[in-house]
Symmetry: C2
Subunit: 190 residues, 2 copies
């Protein structure tokens, strides 16, 4: 998506060879109007998709999931939790996800009340890098007996391989911008 690549070039910051910082519009400060345009692009790419729910993971997936939902006719958005609040008294589905950015491993959880057998799920996230969070979300969906209709990422870091692994596993994945390489402070797209 051209507008996204331009925005990343304009506002993104390359750190070393692994990290792209886009906290000016995506995951600290949020440009909500721009998020809505990204949501519209997900709808265009998944035009034929019938979905019952959008699944994402806290925290920065929530914005893109909320701004995409209207384009799909307002399906419920469910966000997986990274910690278990003491109000989570129901049974839950759980899967392990590593965060390379934060250097942590966490169990992401969704209450069994919010994923059901047969649900067609669109998984959305802001970043797709090694694919740990997305893979964990596919496991939650699978535990519920639901179906992954598609996976959407705003930014895929192609060189970290998560996207290709998901495609090889047979998932339909759409990334709005795929970064091929980060080199000498420059971000190069596929």
């Amino acid at each position: 998506m051209k507008a996204l690549k331009e925005r990343i070039k304009k506002d993104g910051e390359a750190i070393g060879t692994e990290v792209v910082k886009v906290d000016g519009f995506l995951n600290h400060q949020i440009d909500v109007q721009f998020m809505s345009q990204l949501g519209k692009e997900f709808r265009r790419r998944f035009a034929d998709l019938k979905i019952d729910k959008i699944l994402t993971v806290e925290a920065s997936g929530i914005a893109i999931a909320c701004m995409t939902a209207p384009w799909f006719g307002y399906p419920p958005v469910v966000f997986a939790k990274k910690t278990k609040p003491n109000t989570m008294t129901d049974e839950f589905y759980g899967a392990e996800a590593r965060s390379f950015t934060k250097g942590t491993v966490s169990i992401i959880r969704v209450s069994k009340k919010y994923l059901h057998q047969g649900d067609r799920i669109l998984i959305l996230d802001d970043f797709l890098a090694h694919g740990e969070a997305a893979t964990a979300m596919t496991q939650l969906v699978s535990q519920a007996g639901a179906e992954v209709a598609g996976i959407g990422a705003v930014i895929e870091k192609g060189f970290q391989g998560g996207g290709d692994r998901l495609r090889k596993a047979g998932f339909r994945l759409e990334s709005l911008a795929i970064i091929e390489k980060i080199e000498k402070g420059k971000i190069r797209f596929v």
Copy 2:
């Protein structure tokens, strides 16, 4: 707000005398269309307010902040972070916030890049209980030399006193539903 009180009565779950669980539409599964109606109500209540930014805190504040932003002409939404990711290389404002639900104390942080002197800030959150998160956000705003134009909460637990403390401190606070008491599984509104 009548529709919200009805929704809380219909989908909310009273746990003991302190906790109202509304994870069916507000903070685990999100009814995005309903959030947008809540956002419209914030605009109505703060009709005269000129704001430059919306400030919230991850994770469950993000949805209401994003769905309120369109009604204010799409100001940037900034969400304070509860952990310091290793991509947060900038200087930041920080304030302590306790979570009574999670039983934790955390420092919430906003990069100095996203709060500026003179900014008029609308603080939004899903819950206002003891007021710890909202108070911490007012401190971030104050550290930046910015101004709290208003504070909005979807649900205020009036009996926990945070709202009254903020009002007494001179803040303009709007809560869309104020719970007076939770008793024998019943939620009573002010």
